[in-house]
């Protein structure tokens, strides 16, 4: 019942918000949402405490026959792969709700959708049935589309539509692969546990895996399927970006591991070299594209493209260390990108711009955003893989686990890691160093120095979520065994699974 509660709480919350009598104020709605999300996070923590990390396989399982005719069961379970992601989901949705302020347009729908997404994502991570996973995977799509298209920026319609089309294609491919699997094996058992694919011919396996790869590749996203992401991020509001980058992209990588690697180990082993190269291309492409951006948010979005490539590299290498690295990378990217988007959001809210050719000197102690700037330095350093923070140990595990299998792709990915430092230093040095300014330079430093810039204060409550995320990043960076202990058995089991096959 514990795992179900992780779904029931947010879903009931959604309903409650939608059906709440009379017209609660936005602040009230936000408070209710936060309470619900705190309960959800607490339940996730309880699940983590009840979870025995020394056992492989799914735990705390629940099974109810639902539509046995079509193989759809309500089957839940949790393992070392999904547990950290459930925790991240709980934490980041809470952060999203906390940093949501002054929602004047349809607050009720907004918070309901936030809860709906959180529940659906929990469902997808916990589902022990392909169709159930798919239902939740699709269920998260509509509210997110709404969040972008109703509360987004000027170009939100374009971005939201693009997001919807891409993700719909992604869903279709995944559903196609699942149905194809059923069709080819002649079974309507969609439960995840038995390895279905070993009954299939390699040709069929490769086709299905390709569909899965492209389907989840859109979600992750991998180059060249990434085009929806920068637009979605730039148009989405800050809390939605936090959710999108921190949690929803992880559905893609989770799916890749769970339904690519675990379901098709033989085909996976065949494709692995190509996947490693794909990963390296994605990493380099994302990093290089990020260098050329002048919109801070777009830059962070492209950095996501690059950094999610590490997960593919780790999955391709498929060793115990690399898969553990994949879990680490998912978690740390979740925290780091959430922090980056949150901080960019603060800058945008205070200055009205995210343009790196306009912003300068925001570290100014009295008139600028010094705390935001300091946290930004922490965030970009974490993202660039500086030791002592979550990014380093994640990248180290990924690289260390992958270099024997795919030395060239790993080295190229490490170059991408070096490039991260390039674009993020450009960001910090342009926007935060120098004399404070938020208008384009006039070309005459003397007259620029005469501009009086009056930004409103960043209230402590605005930075508390950022501080919490930064603390989490440093904690994982200094005490990685906290996360490693949760996931090591699962990632080793996953690697052994395929090792046994090949």
């Amino acid at each position: 019942m514990l795992l179900s509660s992780l779904l029931i709480v947010p879903f009931l919350g959604t309903l409650a918000l939608l059906l709440w009598p009379d017209r609660p104020s936005p602040a009230r709605l936000r408070l209710i949402t936060i309470v619900i999300l705190v309960v959800q996070l607490a339940l996730s923590v309880v699940a983590a405490l009840r979870f025995d990390p020394s056992l492989p396989g799914l735990q705390l399982q629940e099974l109810h026959r639902w539509l046995p005719g079509i193989g759809l069961d309500y089957a839940l379970g949790i393992d070392g792969l999904s547990l950290p992601l459930v925790l991240i989901n709980g934490a980041l949705t809470l952060v999203s709700a906390v940093i949501t302020r002054d929602i004047s347009k349809r607050p009720r729908l907004y918070f309901a959708m936030l809860l709906l997404i959180s529940g659906a994502v929990n469902g997808a991570f916990l589902a022990d049935n392909l169709l159930l996973f798919f239902l939740f995977y699709e269920l998260e799509l509509i509210p997110l589309w709404l969040l972008i298209s109703v509360w987004g920026g000027v170009n939100r319609a374009y971005a939201a539509t693009k997001f919807l089309i891409f993700t719909a294609v992604s869903g279709m491919l995944i559903l196609g692969a699942f149905l194809g699997l059923a069709l080819l094996t002649g079974s309507v058992d969609f439960s995840l546990t038995p390895v279905l694919s070993d009954r299939l011919a390699m040709g069929g396996q490769l086709w299905l895996l390709a569909a899965i790869l492209i389907g989840f590749g859109i979600k992750i996203p991998l180059v060249p399927l990434h085009n929806w992401l920068p637009d979605a991020h730039t148009q989405a509001s800050t809390p939605v970006s936090v959710l999108l980058a921190g949690v929803l992209l992880k559905l893609g990588t989770y799916g890749l591991l769970r339904f690519g690697l675990q379901l098709f180990p033989e085909a996976w082993a065949k494709l692995a070299p190509a996947l490693a190269i794909w990963a390296a291309i994605s990493v380099l492409y994302g990093s290089l594209a990020a260098i050329a951006q002048t919109d801070m948010k777009r830059m962070v979005a492209y950095s996501s493209v690059g950094h999610m490539g590490y997960v593919l590299l780790a999955a391709a290498a498929d060793t115990p260390v690399s898969l553990l690295g994949a879990v680490f990378q998912m978690v740390s990217h979740g925290l780091i990108s959430a922090l980056l988007f949150l901080l960019v959001g603060i800058v945008y809210r205070k200055t009205g711009t995210r343009d790196l050719e306009v912003l300068r000197g925001l570290l100014n102690p009295e008139r600028g955003l010094p705390l935001t700037g300091s946290l930004m330095i922490v965030a970009v350093m974490a993202s660039a893989g500086l030791p002592g923070m979550a990014g380093f140990i994640s990248e180290f595990l990924v690289f260390r686990g992958s270099i024997s299998a795919f030395p060239v792709a790993t080295l190229l990915s490490m170059v991408g890691s070096g490039l991260t430092a390039v674009y993020f230093l450009l960001l910090v040095n342009r926007a935060f160093f120098g004399r404070l300014a938020i208008t384009p330079p006039s070309g005459d430093p003397g007259s620029d120095a005469r501009l009086d810039v009056q930004l409103s204060t960043v209230a402590p409550r605005e930075t508390i979520p950022a501080l919490a995320l930064a603390a989490g990043i440093v904690f994982i960076g200094l005490v990685p065994s906290s996360l490693g202990n949760l996931s090591e058995v699962a990632s080793t089991a996953l690697a052994n699974l395929t090792a046994g096959v090949s």
Binding site: L183, W228, L386
Partner: protein, 621 residues
Amino acid sequence: MSDALPLPLQLIWLVPLYGFSGMLLSLPWASGWIKRNGPRPAAYLNLLVTLLGVVHGSLAIQEVVALGPQQLEFGWFQAADLNLRIGFDLSLTNLAALELVTTMSLVTQVFALGYLDKEWSLARFYALVGFFEGAMSGVVLSSNLFMSYFLLEMLTLSTYLLVGFWYAQPLVVTAARDAFLTKRVGDVLLLMGVVAVSAWAGSMEFNDLYAWAATVHEQQLLTPLAATLLGLGLIAGPMGKCAQFPMHLWLDEAMEGPNPASILRNSVVVTCGAIVLLKLMPVVAAVSPVATDVLLAVGTISAIGGGLVAIAQVDLKRAFSYSTTSYLGLVFIAIALQKPGIALLLLFAHGLARALQFMSVGSIIATTNCQDLTELGGLGTRMPATALAFLVGSAGLVGLVPLGGFWCFGLMVDNLAGIAPLFAVVFLITNLLAAANVTRVYRSLFLGAATPKTKRAPEVNWLMALPMVSLSVIVLLVPLIMQRIDPVPGIASFSLPVAAAVIGSGLVGVLLGALTPLDSFWSRSRLPTVRLVQDLLAYDFYTPEIYRRTVVNLVASLARFTRWFDITVIKGAVDGIGRLSLATADGLKLTVSGQLQSYVLTVILAVVLLIGSLQVLRGVG
């Protein structure tokens, strides 16, 4: 085993933490949380914890002298075949290096209290120095490659933050960035080496690595290419840290940072880099002869090139920062030729004397608001502590009078004369260049008539003068300390002709430095060839320009191309497909109408469609 160790050794892990705790202790002031009171308590707290570090280190030295070298290890992270540990190698050399780090940090912090007396961001400065000190203490004690790498990267970060200390100054904006990126190139290459060696050797303890490296060739564990790349990767990190050609640029850029940080950077930070190289050298030497040759080449180019470039600098700080590159080049040669003992002595003598030199530089900048050699002069009679520090520091570096530099040069030349006479010559040339450089700088600073900017130049306050005088005494005592560190065969174990050669090269240098005409007030020579050479050297062989045209340009072009590709090809294709299915897009533009019912309808429709299709499928299956 570790239970039996005396307390100072058991608790040696505290030493790096002293520095880091200094950073945390500074936070209330650095973050602006304490607003009514000034930031000085942060400085005092940092001094206190650093003093603790010095005392703890010296207690540990006493224990190690009594007990012999010790190892101390703690598990940090373990997964599958990967075992990452925190390990301390408590040898006498490492502890001596630790004392060098903590003592220099302490002295510098006192100096900074005077140099930065009118600095409101003092707490942030001390926080960063604490971080710096913590990372360096860890690096010198580290017994495994992973921890060394971990802390080296932290050093890179703190270098960036310290160079960026005056973040509103326009040149700092680019300098901090470039300093970080240049170091980062070395770090990423080192990371490649670390990751590879970790995967191949299975352990990252230096001792295990030595054992593994010894078997690489006979058991053919690596292909020649892999071995060479590994060797190059491993030396790249120290090359970056020690500001060696072609990764020396950051040290020049770093001179935009506050002087007390420059003191540390030019003395102990580069020393940390070299110590990591020392620890790695047995692996590099066994794995890749090519890497060893590269080390020799890099060291030679850095030694002589750095020496030449230093002479052409008009900027007071840069005249010595390039000299640092030059001396570290010599250390590289010594390490590459497997003379670790002499390399350590040279590092030790250089670290102390260079720090002293930079202190006197700081005191001159503080007094004259100027670091342009052509605008200075005539300070000699008025600034005794500064002049003393400069003279002693310079004498401690150059092989001429019997201070640290002389004995190191003597030992090295004597050792090399037989096996690699060419490198002995490199040492002598470097000595000559260094002597010429300090002599010309001394003339520009202390001799001649007072200039407008030095007309009123009182000696600096006691917080700066006292560290200078104390360190001068230490530098004067360096030969005695060296003799104690390296009693066999003794620091004077070289022949008279060698001594004569060293003194001769030093003398020629001093003569050259004394006779060359000095530029004044931004003026230049009128001879075109002289100007050409001057410019070539003054602008560091145009290395920044070469970087700009190659690496920077390459990355920028690739980035532009990627952006173009992303917009034109990928986005173009997506939008094209989108236009084809325009109808769909229109149908989905429900957002504008904003009707909740339609959204819910869409969701329900999707679910119904799904279940319906499954039913159909079932009928098929």
